[in-house]
């Protein structure tokens, strides 16, 4: 059953609904005025809305507009069966709604007061996990659930929050390694059987690199290792300490896209986009290997990247544009 996500603005009494997916936090207290700039900045980066309700009022934090004060929403508390600390309930209840306004996660927690740092950490975590995932709302909802749940679990346990998940305890099958990804040194504790692809996606949250066939046939997982294109699904992460690994997240220089990224946009070199990071990395690798003489050479050189949508003519055009 989709929940009723209508709230009343304190100024003027108009009703508003947050954009979905979103997070609703019910808490004992929250700073008047609507949260710190840091929290709003994180929400802006994530593209998700946050509604914080206290017994006395509330605030709607949307990345696209200034924080808006809300009237107290006692019926919402009742609807959710949430009781504030003053009535013997948990000091913090967090609800994550998916794109259909269904509650995907509910967490009742003994959050530290003030609650804002906990929410900030949760949103930061969500942002890390959904990097590159903007616009795919379902993924975002899943990300919010995972991240908010994770951070709140830490808050409940009174733990200090980390930027990255706590690694599992060391054991005979785990190795501590440092990978250099997009120029950054990243420490990992992983099993030797973990592929480079899984390490990038699951541990370093670099989900731009895609898992397609996971057996070296489709090319969706293509990354550059020391400038050379390879299938990251068939590489062991432990084997790549000391190498320069470049993923799609590392191609742009700040806000300036890599010429190949720009060319794929200019030439409409994709439809669904799933194979695109691999196509772009492969194309960069191809030009690094030498100048393909003609379109035929581009096609042959890109034979290791499959596009299920069949955007091949535009992919070839994009690469030809960069080749010049």
């Amino acid at each position: 059953m989709p929940g009723n996500l209508d709230f009343v603005l304190a100024s003027g009494g108009n009703r508003i609904s947050p954009r979905l997916p979103c997070v609703v936090a019910l808490c004992a207290s929250f700073p008047e005025g609507g949260g710190g700039e840091a929290l709003r900045a994180e929400l802006r980066g994530l593209g998700a809305d946050l509604v914080v309700l206290t017994p006395k009022g509330g605030v709607w934090l949307s990345p696209d507009s200034d924080p808006k004060p809300l009237l107290a929403a006692s019926s919402f508390w009742e609807e959710q069966g949430a009781r504030g600390a003053e009535r013997g309930g948990a000091p913090l209840t967090v609800l994550v709604y998916d794109e259909n306004a269904n509650v995907r996660m509910r967490k009742d927690a003994d959050a530290p007061v003030p609650v804002e740092p906990t929410l900030l950490a949760a949103v930061r975590e969500a942002r890390l996990r959904s990097r590159g995932g903007m616009g795919r709302r379902d993924l975002l909802a899943g990300t919010l659930v995972a991240a908010v749940g994770f951070v709140l679990a830490q808050a409940c346990a009174g733990l200090k929050t980390h930027d990255e998940p706590t690694p599992p305890a060391a054991g005979p099958n785990l190795q501590d390694i440092t990978l250099t990804v997009n120029g950054e040194k990243r420490k990992l504790r992983i099993e030797s059987r973990v592929s480079l692809l899984d390490a990038l996606r699951e541990q370093l949250q670099l989900t731009g690199t895609k898992k397609g066939c996971d057996m070296g046939q489709c090319g969706a997982c293509t990354v550059l290792i020391d400038g050379t294109r390879v299938n990251s699904c068939l590489q062991l992460a432990v084997a790549h300490e000391g190498h320069q690994i470049t993923t799609i997240e590392g191609l742009a220089k700040g806000d300036k896209l890599h010429p190949m990224q720009q060319a794929f946009i200019d030439c409409d070199g994709f439809q669904c986009g799933y194979c695109t990071p691999g196509q772009i990395l492969s194309a960069v690798g191809l030009l690094h290997e030498g100048r393909p003489a003609d379109d035929e050479a581009i096609r042959e050189g890109m034979s290791g990247n499959i596009c299920r949508c069949g955007a091949y003519p535009n992919i070839v055009a994009a690469i030809a544009q960069v080749r010049g």
Binding site: V230, N231, L234, L236, A239, L286, R299
Partner: protein, 323 residues
């Protein structure tokens, strides 16, 4: 994938004494370990053994280090010029991403792509000795028609090995008991009653390099491959051939077949039939008939004998026409 320990070999001797399974490019090994067709508990990564990456050519021939990548070999100037069939065979195989990491020795020791070997739900004598073979009555389009047994019809998947078989390559190995060399044709074993035995190598023996002699036929060598896709597909049939023509007649010839044999398939009788003859389509067709003598097609692969013959003719013609 099952858990395993991972270590890096610091030297050749360190690798040989490590008592594990050697990891080079990993494109075949990791793939098969992921689907648990191969399960090893210790991998010894050879990546630091840079001496094994060397490619050297002199008047006598070509020395390919075990860890030289497919790309490095295929793009090497001497290889392209003096052993073009090797370069062509490599470039016809796999994808650029795979060729960038796949190695010389890894290519020699890769496993079959028989779909039944890869599928744990089916019976396979190569994977589980004595279990039976579901390929026999299955989909055999990609299977072998030469060198088969009633235990196994899996085709050898390599293109590179076909060129090496044709060009008299020699495999150099080092093990706990020292160094030795094998003629290329002795490296791969016929399936016979024991398809699980694939290589004439002892435990802990490591291929260090492959030597390919220089020859007039090698300098004219060509590789022709027929496949279901224009690129990035295993051979249905292929042929590496080299013809040395002097004074209008053939002085020597090299012919090996891919995609049709349970191992890289050299055919000395077909080569002999050409010596002294004049190069022509008809002569080459006769050699092709000899090359496919004894072929035993099965079900879906009945077309392969004729396809392979045409690959032989095409490869010999292009070699003979090469200036």
């Amino acid at each position: 994938m099952k858990l395993f320990t991972y270590q890096r070999a610091k030297s050749l001797d360190d690798a040989i004494s490590a008592g594990g399974t050697f990891l080079a490019g990993g494109t075949s090994l990791i793939d098969l370990m992921k689907i648990e067709v191969l399960n090893y508990d210790r991998l010894v990564d050879l990546a630091k053994l840079d001496d094994l990456r060397k490619i050297e050519a002199d008047a006598k021939g070509l020395k390919l280090g075990a860890l030289a990548t497919n790309t490095a070999v295929a793009q090497h100037g001497d290889v392209k010029q003096r052993w073009p069939g090797i370069s062509q065979a490599l470039l016809s195989g796999a994808s650029p991403q795979l060729r960038n990491v796949a190695t010389v020795a890894g290519n020699l020791l890769q496993r079959t792509r028989c779909a039944y070997y890869r599928d744990l739900a089916t019976k396979c004598n190569k994977r589980n000795p004595g279990q039976g073979c579901d390929a026999m009555e299955g989909w055999t389009r990609m299977h072998a028609i030469l060198g088969t047994s009633d235990k196994c019809i899996a085709a050898h998947p390599s293109d590179f090995c076909v060129a090496l078989a044709a060009l008299d390559a020699v495999v150099h190995v080092k093990g706990p008991k020292g160094e030795r060399e094998l003629p290329f044709g002795d490296l791969h074993l016929l399936p016979g009653d024991h398809p699980e035995r694939e290589f004439a190598l002892q435990p802990d023996e490591l291929i260090t390099h492959v030597f390919v002699p220089a020859s007039a036929a090698a300098a004219k060598s060509r590789y022709v491959k027929a496949r279901d896709r224009q690129s990035y597909a295993f051979a249905l049939a292929s042929c590496a051939a080299g013809v040395e023509v002097a004074g209008g007649s053939i002085r020597s010839a090299r012919i090996a077949l891919g995609g049709v044999g349970t191992k890289p398939w050299r055919v000395p009788e077909a080569e002999q039939s050409l010596v002294g003859a004049q190069p022509s389509k008809e002569t080459f067709r006769k050699a092709a008939e000899i090359a496919l003598r004894g072929a035993q097609p099965r079900g879906d692969n009945a077309f392969k004998a004729e396809l392979a013959k045409r690959c032989v003719v095409r490869a010999l013609l292009t070699s003979a026409e090469a200036a």
